[in-house]
């Protein structure tokens, strides 16, 4: 992350001298090694500890320079990155092109079992390393100290976007010596550096790194992430002033947030997408009309109003509207139309019994029930059973393709790219394609778009691909989440910003009171 | 009455033995410490008691309070497991039987507990308490129906049969004792061990109960072990009397022998202390007052256990434990080196 957003608000409020300390809600990270962190809790922290080759411009969601000052490609397949020369790690180690080569090779080494390894799967030489046929990826080369070359197996225009992701952060050489020790206090190259070790389940504290080579350093002197196990509790703690920022207040709090916080809250649209998937490997759902009918029978706005206090944006897209690539008006079947739905369903002979799947304990019960009520009322479905399962079991069912009805899943963008919003979920055989959707036309369009060098044309192609999905409806789009951020009096509300990937940019927060 | 023991032949000599007790021992450990206890000694509650109870016979047991009578009774019932010794019921080893067999034998031996109240289940009505023996031993089910039989029993011991539905706590001490008696009688056992069965009864009811016991014995040839402190009562009911002191039998003989020619000094002291129901005799009797404190049952005196309080004690008493045998002129067995009839015997009432 990063960007000039913080600068815009600089004059709005008088910050404390030196930047002050800000504390924020977080959940206990699973891992604090860039290549291994796949969830928000860890990535958010890593985001401040590390800076990748590329950063995202928060205003436009476009890539902007990070460690790399500039980059260049002819064919979207071979990319050359020119690195800035004064980047160092917090421990003083200099960052060169070789740093990235080493890091990337380390991440994909199966022995290191880094979970994000497969983000590299379109790098040339990746498979060889994974298969044990090679030590290093051919596709990543340090041309000289400050020139890095990346070669991909096929054209891939969103590469700069992708490189903003956690998995591509550089790691210092100390990391390889003892990765476990490193994880307790990662040494990065970001705006902030660890202050002490990771206090598991309690907090992670970072101090501003004053030698940061980037353009707009962090404002607060110190950031403390406090680990909470219950969001409600965090909410009360912000309310009582013990905590400065909670970036994901419980949705049902929207009704009282004004009385609880007055002005001290803000709403952000994000790329976090919720959908009802349909197991296309089951016969009942192979008829596209059934899928359309199911979609049309859902009154998204009503559910959002009743259950989320209006805090989600009804989805008529697959690509988050926060990205400029999202198409408009392409979704014919996302509007509530019970009569049409009923008719269609009747004609298509949709199933009269449904089993709905969702994972338990994550707060999905109510809206899933509401959806099921609407299906029952609008489509004449007689029997609905629910399967709420532990997440591990739930995924196992998916892997085994034993899901027999609509299922809830979500997707949020690790990096802001329309490609990432679609390809992993809908292209044939993709890793997260739980619906088992396959459409050649769609696959081709995505590939073409990935190869397209002109960003605008690529964007158009993505939008086209999205339209196919909306027509085929392998999943029923439900909504894009809206995050409610609440904060204490100690920070300036205008300085708080959450990006589409749901990271709140603490480095831009202005602390007004010590 | 003459001082010499009547040499009358033992009327029970030809009767079969019902209960043959041999060298019964029970020591209770004394411990110290709260959680981690260590054993620092043992109360020698019963320390080698032997006797033979025959059919139709009543053996009275008297003795100082705390000398082990109740413990003996419990041992005989196998409510405590003895440390040594044997008990034979009609020739059968009572100490080794188990399970159903034990239960069958227990039907034949009944006990009336010294403590009337705690031995009654507070949540059972008197009717249920007395009916319990019949329920436990269905083969004994009375012809006239359990309930009627229970009422009869209540009546027998002088309780109002209408109180059949009452609970133990609603009775007076003496009434509770009679509930225990009625329960003990219910099964018509062969042996009844009575641990102070009449101590809480007024003399009139006591008379009723003793007459009842007497009648039962005459009719069915029951045997009793009758533990009591009231020496008149013991004399009245017993054929033979055993005198216990500190876990051992001090003297064992027929009722006449013991009461008329007591040979053990302790027996003599005991008899001399019997209060007589006649105020005019107040202070006129001569009473042997035992000197010294009762000895510690955990650490009894060497030799004869009574020697520390005995006026006849000599050196031999300290070194050699006297056996329970008859000596010299006396016919009964007495565990005293100096066993001899004493001039001072129980004064007769006027």
């Amino acid at each position: 992350g990063g960007g000039d957003n913080g600068g815009d608000n600089g004059e709005a409020a008088q910050g404390v001298e030196g930047g002050g300390t800000v504390s924020a809600y977080n959940c206990e990270p699973q891992f604090l090694v860039p290549g291994n962190s796949t969830e928000v809790c860890g990535s958010w922290v890593l985001d401040s500890l590390f800076t990748g080759l590329v950063q995202t411009d928060l205003d436009t969601n476009e890539p902007m320079p990070g460690v790399a000052e500039s980059w260049d490609t002819e064919d979207n397949q071979t990319w050359t990155f020119t690195l800035g020369e004064d980047w160092t790690f917090h421990d003083g180690e200099e960052i060169t092109a070789q740093t990235f080569v080493d890091t990337y090779n380390w991440v994909i080494d199966p022995d290191n079992a880094q979970q994000s390894a497969n983000f590299f799967d379109n790098f040339v030489g990746y498979q060889e390393v994974v298969d044990g046929d090679a030590e290093e990826m051919e596709g990543v080369r340090a041309v000289d100290d400050y020139t890095l070359e990346i070669e991909l197996t096929e054209p891939f225009s969103p590469l700069p976007d992708m490189l903003t992701y956690t998995a591509f952060y550089p790691m210092p050489s100390v990391a390889y010596e003892d990765i476990d020790a490193f994880e307790q206090a990662p040494v990065g190259n970001g705006r902030y550096m660890m202050d002490g070790e990771w206090e598991h389940d309690v907090q992670i504290a970072v101090e501003r790194f004053d030698d940061w080579a980037g353009e707009d350093p962090g404002l607060p002197q110190r950031i403390e992430w406090r680990m909470y196990t219950d969001i409600e509790t965090a909410y009360l703690d912000v309310q009582s002033g013990n905590l400065d920022i909670l970036d994901s207040a419980p949705p049902n709090r929207r009704a009282t947030v004004e009385s609880d916080f007055g002005e001290n809250y803000a709403d952000f649209d994000t790329s976090s997408f919720t959908y009802m998937g349909l197991p296309l490997y089951q016969e009942e759902f192979q008829d596209v009309d059934v899928r359309h009918a199911l979609s049309m029978a859902i009154d998204r706005q009503a559910i959002i109003d009743a259950i989320f206090d209006g805090a989600q944006t009804p989805a008529a897209n697959i690509i988050p509207p926060a990205l400029s690539d999202a198409g408009e008006g392409n979704c014919e079947y996302c509007d509530y139309d019970p009569e049409a739905a009923a008719e269609l369903y009747e004609e298509a002979g949709g199933p009269t019994d449904l089993t709905i799947y969702f994972n338990s304990g994550a707060g999905h019960e109510e809206w899933v029930e509401a959806v099921s009520n609407q299906w029952q009322q609008n489509l004449g479905i007689e029997n609905v059973t629910f399967e709420s399962l532990d997440f591990a079991q739930y995924l196992a069912l998916h892997d085994e393709q034993e899901i027999t009805g609509p299922y809830r899943l979500g997707w949020s963008l690790s990096y802001p790219s329309a490609q990432y919003a679609m390809e992993p979920i809908y292209s044939t055989g993709a890793s997260s394609n739980y619906a088992d959707y396959s459409n050649e036309e769609f696959d081709d369009l995505i590939n073409e778009a990935n190869a397209e060098t002109d960003p605008d044309t690529a964007a158009e192609m993505y939008t086209e691909a999205e339209a196919i999905l909306l027509e085929d409806m392998p999943v029923i789009p439900m909504w894009f989440s809206n995050y409610l951020v609440v904060h204490s009096d100690r920070v300036d509300g205008d300085s708080i910003f959450m990006d589409q990937a749901t990271y709140t940019h603490l480095e831009d927060v202005v602390v007004t009171e010590e | 009455m003459s001082l010499s023991a009547p040499a009358a032949a033992d009327p029970f000599a030809d009767k079969k033995s019902v209960l043959q007790v041999d060298g019964l021992v029970k020591h209770f450990p004394i411990t110290q410490g709260i959680v981690f206890q260590r054993k620092v000694g043992a109360v020698k509650a019963v320390d080698g008691v032997s006797f033979n109870l025959r059919e139709g016979e009543t053996l009275g047991i008297v003795g100082e309070s705390g000398c082990g009578k109740s413990t003996l009774a419990k041992l005989l019932m196998r409510l405590e497991e003895p440390d040594a010794g044997s008990v034979k019921f009609r020739g059968e080893d009572f100490l080794s039987v188990k399970g159903d067999e034990l239960r069958r034998l227990r039907r034949k031996i009944q006990i009336i507990f010294q403590d009337p109240y705690t031995s009654l289940n507070p949540r059972m009505s008197v009717g249920d308490i007395i009916a319990e023996p019949f329920k436990l031993h269905p083969e004994e089910k009375p012809k006239q129906g359990i309930r009627n039989r229970v009422k009869e029993l209540l009546d027998l011991v002088g309780l109002n049969p209408e109180h059949i539905n009452r609970y133990p706590h609603q009775f007076s001490g003496g009434q509770r004792q009679r509930i225990g008696i009625a329960r003990g009688l219910a099964l018509n056992p062969d042996v009844i061990i009575c641990d102070e069965p009449v101590s809480a009864l007024d003399v009139s009811v006591q008379a009723q109960v003793m007459n009842l016991l007497d009648d039962l014995q005459k009719q069915f040839g029951l045997s009793y072990i009758f533990i009591a402190h009231d020496l008149s009562v013991v004399r009245h009911i017993s054929d033979r009397v055993g005198v216990m002191y500190l876990g051992k039998l001090a003297e064992l003989g027929t009722q006449d022998e013991i009461y008329n020619v007591p040979a053990h000094p302790y027996t003599q002291a005991l008899l001399s202390a019997v209060p007589l129901p006649d105020p005019t005799l107040r202070g006129e009797r001569e009473q042997i007052v035992l000197q010294g404190d009762p000895p510690n049952p955990a650490n009894p005196p060497s030799g004869c256990r009574f020697r520390t309080r005995c006026w006849k004690a000599t050196e031999i008493c300290a070194t050699e434990e006297p056996e329970l045998i008859s000596r010299g002129r006396i016919t009964q067995a007495a565990a005293c080196h100096h066993a001899a009839p004493n001039e001072r015997v129980a004064p007769a009432h006027g």
Binding site: P110, A117, N118, H200, D201, D230, Q239, D390 | T31
Partner: protein, 308 residues
């Protein structure tokens, strides 16, 4: 008694072996792939997955897994690690104090409040206080712990500002609200147990004797009546202490206490067998000890109770 205690301590061995085996088996039997769950709905490459499965012996048959686990403990004192690489021993040393403190504070609160309330309820039988305890118990039972905890945070933490809302940063004070929330139901039950047992023993003869000795009512009740009625209370407190260790999931989660209960729950969800087994072993030791203490207490409370 000493021998009894030693014998009881020896029972640790089979109990631990059986229960760890059992728990291990249960975790093993859980459906789904823990490594899969670790990654969430994001894709994980097969290579990574395999490495991890191998690293955590997940591909071995059950008994091999268990044997490797035991072997690790025996040879290297290695209780395994979590899937994110933290040693179980470290996890436990960090979390045990939290749970233990919580349990202890709860235990103190509930024992004191429960017994006192029980005594008062018995003394003022059918009067206001008795009814109050009854109604309070009913309410506490009817309200889920979640709600009670939340209300406490709201009232004592936020509105009155008496106690911290969450976390363990303020020392013992931070444990008071969670302990209250945990104790609420048990206190009521305890009060009722004490009350009814006390009423029973107050009608016994020896209590009358104490009165006849001229003792004050309060002394009669607390010194003579109470002791005889404490066996159920002690049993219950013991059992409750046991379930507290394991059952503090909800409270630990809400009050953000990094304790064992919450960890066990998370590890179960993540199917981290070693963690679960490690913690459960600790629990078992704890329960056997607690129950031993309770049994020893029986003997102290009532000398008639003898263990060979």
């Amino acid at each position: 008694m000493t021998r009894y205690i030693i014998r009881r301590l020896l029972q640790f061995i089979p109990v631990i072996v059986i229960s760890t085996l059992l728990v291990y088996a249960l975790v093993f039997a859980m459906p789904g792939d823990p490594i899969r769950a670790l990654a969430g709905d994001r894709p994980m490459s097969d290579a990574v997955r395999e490495t991890l499965r191998e690293q955590y012996n997940l591909d071995d048959p059950f008994f091999v897994q268990y044997a490797k686990y035991l072997w690790g403990i025996i040879t290297a004192g290695d209780f395994g690690t979590t899937f994110n690489g933290r040693p179980v021993t470290e996890l436990i040393t960090q979390r045990l104090p939290v749970t233990a403190t919580l349990a202890l504070v709860t235990f103190v609160i509930q024992s004191i409040m429960g017994i006192i309330a029980g005594i008062l309820a018995a003394l003022y039988r059918d009067r206001f206080f008795d009814r109050f305890v009854q109604v309070a118990t009913v309410t506490m039972v009817a309200l889920p712990t979640l709600v009670i905890a939340f209300l406490m945070q709201l009232v004592f933490g936020l509105n009155l500002g008496l106690f911290p809302i969450a976390g363990i940063n303020d020392g013992l004070i931070s444990y008071i609200l969670p302990a209250l929330a945990m104790a609420s139901v048990s206190t009521g039950i305890l009060a009722r147990l004490v009350r009814s047992e006390l009423l029973d023993s107050l009608s016994s003869d020896y209590v009358r004797t104490a009165t006849a000795k001229g003792m004050k009512r309060s002394r009669v009740v607390t010194r003579h009546g109470l002791r005889n009625s404490l066996i159920p209370a002690v049993t219950f407190i013991g059992a409750d202490l046991a379930s507290m260790m394991a059952g503090s999931i909800v409270v630990e989660t809400i009050f953000n206490l990094p304790g064992l209960g919450e960890q066990v729950y998370r590890s179960i969800q993540g199917q981290e067998g070693t963690v679960v087994v490690g913690i459960v072993t600790l629990f078992v030791i704890f329960f056997v000890l607690i129950n031993l203490i309770v049994d020893v207490l029986y003997g102290l409370l009532d000398p008639r109770i003898r263990y060979e």
